[in-house]
Structures are given as C-alpha cells and as structure tokens.
C-alpha cells in the first residue's frame, strides 16, 4: 500500500467524520466536499480518471451546492438545534453503525487472503468508456437520462412554492 493512499484515505475519512460530527450544517457540507474530493483522488489512484473527474464535477459542483442551498433555505445553520445536534436515540444508531463496520471489516479481513494482488493498471481510454456507454450500456444510459429528467422536474415541483391563489 502506497503512502499516498494512506494520506488520501485519512483525508477522506476525516472529511467524512467532520461531515457527520460538526455542529454547523454549512461546515458539515464543506467537510463533505473534502470527503468527496478525497474519494475523487482515491478514484484517480485506482486509475479511474473518468469516474474521478465525474465525481468532482457532480458531487462538488452540484450535490454539495445543492446541500448548501437546502441548508440555507431551511435556515438550518442559524437555528441552534435545541437538545443537542444528536437525536435522543443516537446511542442505538451508533451501535448499529459500529456493528455494520465490524461485520464488513470482518468480511474483508476474512477474505483478505483470497483477494487478487497488485495488478498493472488496466488501460482503458475514455473512448472505450464512451463506446461502452453507447453500446452495451446504452439502455441503462437512456433510463438514467429519463430518471434524471424526471428527478429534475420532480424536485422543481416538490420544492415549488404554491403561491396564494394557485390551487
């Protein structure tokens, strides 16, 4: 395992932790973007340039901004959450999450021996990705396009203000 990997991984995990632990929601969102960036870097380390940059474009460019907008629109960053930022059942949640991590980690460790070892970087060009998208995966692509359109319209309608007078 390269040194860079551990650095980036640490960065990512730290970002994730901060995202769920910080008090101010905007800070959480920003921390989240750090996590996203870290993930993008991990993707790059995995020779998945396309996915990495798509990650940055979509998550940092769009999702993070969306979240921030939502935070501002719901005034969640101003209003101090009375009774702490954690729900009163936080312990149970924490236990469950920990349990999940334990199980997953266990699974990985268990099977660590059988996992494939360091292999040379697969030489995939964007051309190939494009061909795959337009070839074998064209149907999912179309469906995804449909879904995105639906989501766009749906989100717009859900978040729309019914002005007085209209229905």
């Amino acid at each position: 395992m390269s040194f860079a990997f551990w650095v980036v991984a640490a960065l990512t995990v730290a970002g994730g932790l901060a995202a769920v632990l910080l008090k101010n929601l905007v800070h959480c969102a920003l921390a989240l973007t750090i996590a996203f960036a870290g993930l993008a870097l991990l993707f790059l380390q995995l020779d998945a340039q396309f996915a990495g940059f798509a990650q940055i474009l979509v998550y940092i460019g769009a999702v993070a901004i969306l979240i921030v907008f939502a935070v501002l629109l719901t005034r969640s960053s101003e209003t101090p959450a009375q009774g702490g930022i954690f729900s009163h059942t936080w312990l149970a949640g924490l236990v469950v999450a920990a349990g999940l991590f334990a199980v997953l980690a266990w699974a990985v460790i268990e099977s660590a021996g059988g996992l494939p070892h360091e292999s040379s970087a697969p030489a995939v060009t964007v051309m190939q990705i494009g061909n795959a998208l337009m070839g074998r995966y064209v149907l999912p692509l179309e469906i995804l396009a449909l879904l995105l359109t639906a989501a766009l319209i749906g989100a717009a309608i859900v978040a729309m203000h019914e002005k007085e007078g209209t229905k």
């Binding site: 396309f50 474009l57 901004i65 203000h161």
Partner: protein, 391 residues
Amino acid sequence: MLERLDQVFVLFKDWLVAFLPASWQGVVGVIICVVAIIAVYPTLFALAVLMERKGLGRMQNRYGPNRVGPFGILQPVADGIKSLTKEDIVPLRADAVVHFLAPVVLVVAVFMGFAVLPMGRNMVLVDLDTSLLFFFAMMASTELSVFMAGWSSRNKYSLLGAMRAVAQMISYEVPLLLSSIVIVMMTGSLSLVRVVEAQNHFTGILPNWYVFTPWGFAGFIVFVIASTAETNRSPFDLPEGESEIIAGYFTEYSGFKFALFFLGEYVEMFAVAGLGTTLFLGGWAGPISFLSWVPSWIWFFAKVELWICFFIWIRGTLPRLRQDQLMNFAWKFVLPFTLFNLVVAAVWRFMGEGWLRWLVCWALVVGVYALAGRSGMRREKIGTRIYRYAD
C-alpha cells in the same frame, strides 16, 4: 531555427532538467512548468487590468490611469503593493476559517485548470485523456469557493451576491459544457491536445477551425456568452453589481485576500478564454497556412488576449442584465439552442462530405436560433418581482 523558437520553452526546460539525476527529472520538470504557469498568468493579469482600465477609460471618454510611470504603465504594480500592504480585515462575526479558505480554494481551483491547456506545440503540463472533463471539474469547484466567501462573511450583501453568483454559474455551466460537447463529438476525444491537432490543418490557406462550421459557430457563440456569465463579467456581473450589492460575495474582503479574489477572477477569465481558443479557434494553430512559421505559443496567447479585449469591449458596451432576464435567457434560450446544436452536430456527422450538409446545417442552426429566440425570449409583461434567495 524557427522550430527552435517554437519549442524554445520546452528546450529550456529540458536543458534545466538535464542537470539533475534522472530520477528527479520528471518531478522537477513538472515543478518548472507549474512555476512557469504561476508566473506567467499573474503577469498577464496585471497587463489585462491595466488594459481594461485604460480601455474602459477611453470608451467612457476619459483618461485611464496615467499617473504611475509612463502612461500609468506601472499602475498594476502600485495596486499590487497597495493590496499587499493593506490591513487584512476579518469581520467579527465572520467564520474565520472558511473566510480564509475561500480565496485560496478559488485561486487553486482556477490555476488547476491550466494544467491541461495546450499553450503551444508540446506545451501542455499533463496531456490527460480526460482533460476537458478535468477542466470543467475545476471550474465547477470554483462555485463552492464563491459560496464560502459569501456565506462566511456574515453579510447580507455577500450572501446575496454569493447566491446570485452560484445560481448564475450553475445555470451557465450547463450550456458551457454542452457547447463543448459538440467539439468532443467531432474530435472523438476529451483530450484538448487532440482537439487542437484535429483543427491544425488547412484547406487552401484557410484553417479548419471548428468555429467555421455551422455547429462550431453556434457552439462558439454559446460558449462566449456562457463563459462571460461563468466569469461574472458584464453584462452578467450581477453577483458584484456595485449599484445593488456593493461588491457581492467579496464585499467583506480586503488586502491580500481581496487581491487573491481579483486575481482568481481574471485568471479564470484567462482559463476560460484559453479553453474557448483551444476548442473553437484552433488553439495554438496559426490562422493562415503561410503564417504557420510563427511560433505556436504566440498564436495561443494572441488569441487569448484578443478574447480578453473582447470581454473588455463588451463590458464597456453593454448594460447589466436583470436577474430574471439572466435566468430566462439561460434556461429558455441558451439551453434549448445548445441542445439542438448537438442534434445539428450529429446531422453533420452523419450526412457525410459534400456541400449539402453545409447548407442543411446552416439552415438548421439559423432556423433554430430564430425559433428559440421567438419562443423563448418572448417579452412577458413585467410585474412585481419577488427575490427569494434565502427565504
């Protein structure tokens, strides 16, 4: 000789690197390039500011800066010194960390963009297979810094400005991307180097730049508009509309941070202009066949400067848009037009050689322009507008 002149920077780098042990050469080479970029563009930025101020002065029938140095040439230096020496004020209730990070993130993100711009033959830092995507990813992450700046200053003007800026950038990023997709469709590659190479040959003496094709031209127009908006230049400079919200998201910035923002803005301008040049105007390729002996990097920077001049000229000419006009324009005209441009490109691609496809595609483009203009930009009666940014 001329080849050497063309490759002068590359050769220089190699010469420098040659002093080092082989194991270091790669790293150091990259570092040199980075340093070069970081050195060149701020200089250009200083020139651009000077040019802008003087140019605007002329347009507005007054002398621009003319005190510092001969014809006020040293004005930018003076500005630099001033902003460096000024006190750096952070508002009391501001979120200090974010407030500090914002300009840094902006500048970093913007400079990242240059990593993939070919500024001359063999003059690209990294020739990524996905460089265009990378570029846009970087551009996208500038939005975040803008928001950080606006939000962290705890100032309603800043917040308004940030919101405006983000909304505007997101809305215009879509057409920006889509208009470049056309080029990708034609070149069959996301690599900017390929794009330039694809344009760098001539029919007769005329170059085959994409801007001269119907879809290319349409894409070019859209790209110019969208990039103007993306860089918050007038007439899309609502985010920093002095008359409405002081200086928008960097109202609360001063001193060096302010300078950084200023720098970031202009460098982003350069970056976008460089991208546009690469995509539509043949990058470092010469405009006429018998002029191709002129070093490639000269062409590139000439074109970029031309682009900047155009920006300045527009700023001196057009009034500022209104928010609703801005959005309507983005979603009702530019987006549909761009989307259809994709179709035109596809038609072009599959109609094969011949004069017919020129005819058809031009007709399509013009027709759609007229159609979208009529339907999308119909003038509604202007009633009372409600601004809801943070309701």
